[in-house]
Amino acid sequence: MIALLRRDLRLAVRAGGGFGLGVAFFLILCSLVPFGVGPDSGALQPIAPGILWLGALLACLLSLDRIFALDHEDGSLDLLATSPLPLEGAVAIKALAHWITTGLPLIVAAPLFGILLHLPAGAIPSLLVSLLVGTPALSMLGAFGAAVTVGLRRGGLLLSLLVLPLYIPTLIFGTEMIRRGQQGGDAATPLLFLAGITAGVLAVIPFAAAAALRVNLR
């Protein structure tokens, strides 16, 4: 399992792996918004939590189809399925690798992008915590979508249609948590919901995704 994680990370960092693509997309999105809605903080501040989370969702979506598609194309997926590694474990590891290459850089860069959107300094901790707790669910749900669409030509678009609705609960509670951080409210309730969603997703999705992969390998 460690070997699979190391390989996926190494592939992401090497040429053509797309490491940092998500952050670059996030940066462009967050710097485009002030051009679109105007740079005054009165307009930006209320929408900043939503923009930050939407940016995170879309940045995450960019690299989802690579989770299994590349391994399917070159036959690695067949070999992984016949290896002693349980397919559920392989799914979890690949989702973890996706989170490390996409989610983690987003979290590190998010405070900077918060400033671009005039997010008050007091809301930065809740931004960080909400992303830290919420983004693992994004990667895992994405792995499920990627498992369902693996082997389809142009599966990327279908993947977005499948996965984005599943992101809605995370989006709602993630933005709510930042908003409460912004206004000085109690952020514990949205945080608990966010953590509950992530925990449930992490527990269930590896099995669902592995089942989808088995069907698609036939």
Partner: protein, 208 residues
């Protein structure tokens, strides 16, 4: 003692039965070569035995985690070097002996080259070297000699003899003569009769 016993196996591809009633067994040291015209279901049969799809009927008896499968795609990552690709599969399968595997397929001079820069035949050799690091007793091979040159085919036959002499077994779909002491099973007589789609049990009742 047998490594693999297949009874009355029926396999299907895309819901259509391809071959049915296939029975054979493989003991350590034995190799079985599958023959038959294109489309008869050699690949489907091999994928079923490798556990990538369930059989439609009949049974497959073998130890768990016994199969090393190699098909048309070699499972190589172009961004990793030859040695890194092998090391990854060795770790996944809990095997080792990367040096020996490299030398068996004469890949040492290429060990540090990215797999993307290999020719088709060199990739194939790397894909076959993976079998050695997987340390599995039963090799299930689908057209292993595609794009290999004559010298590499001989090298592969040597590797195969070594595997068989160490108590391994092999099931190979191939059209060329490897010069192995192997039984040959022609799948033509097992071609599925009648082209009826194999519907799930209870389907007709549900819609009657």
């Amino acid at each position: 003692m047998t490594l693999l016993a297949v009874h009355d196996l029926v396999v299907a591809r895309g819901g259509l039965r391809t071959v049915e009633g296939v029975s054979f067994s493989l003991a350590p040291g034995q190799a079985l070569i599958l023959r038959g015209p294109n489309g008869i279901g050699k690949t489907t049969l091999l994928r079923t035995i490798a556990g990538l799809q369930p059989p439609v009927g009949g049974g497959i008896e073998m130890a768990e985690d016994a199969v090393a499968y190699a098909a048309h795609a070699d499972g190589l990552k172009g961004a990793l070097s030859v040695a890194e690709n092998l090391a990854f599969w060795a770790q996944v399968f809990g095997g080792g002996g990367i040096e020996a595997a490299l030398s068996a397929m004469a890949l040492e001079p290429l060990a540090d080259r990215p797999a993307a820069a290999l020719s088709a035949g060199q990739k194939r050799r790397l894909g076959l070297a993976r079998l050695l690091v997987a340390r599995r007793p039963l090799w299930v091979l689908d057209e292993p000699t595609v794009s290999l040159d004559a010298a590499s085919v001989l090298r592969f036959a040597d590797m195969m003899r070594g595997h068989l002499s160490e108590g391994g077994a092999a099931l190979i779909a191939t059209h060329i003569d490897l010069g192995l002491d192997a039984r040959i099973l022609d799948l033509t007589p097992f071609r599925a009769q009648g082209i009826t789609p194999s519907r799930p049990a209870g389907f007709n009742e549900a819609f009657a």
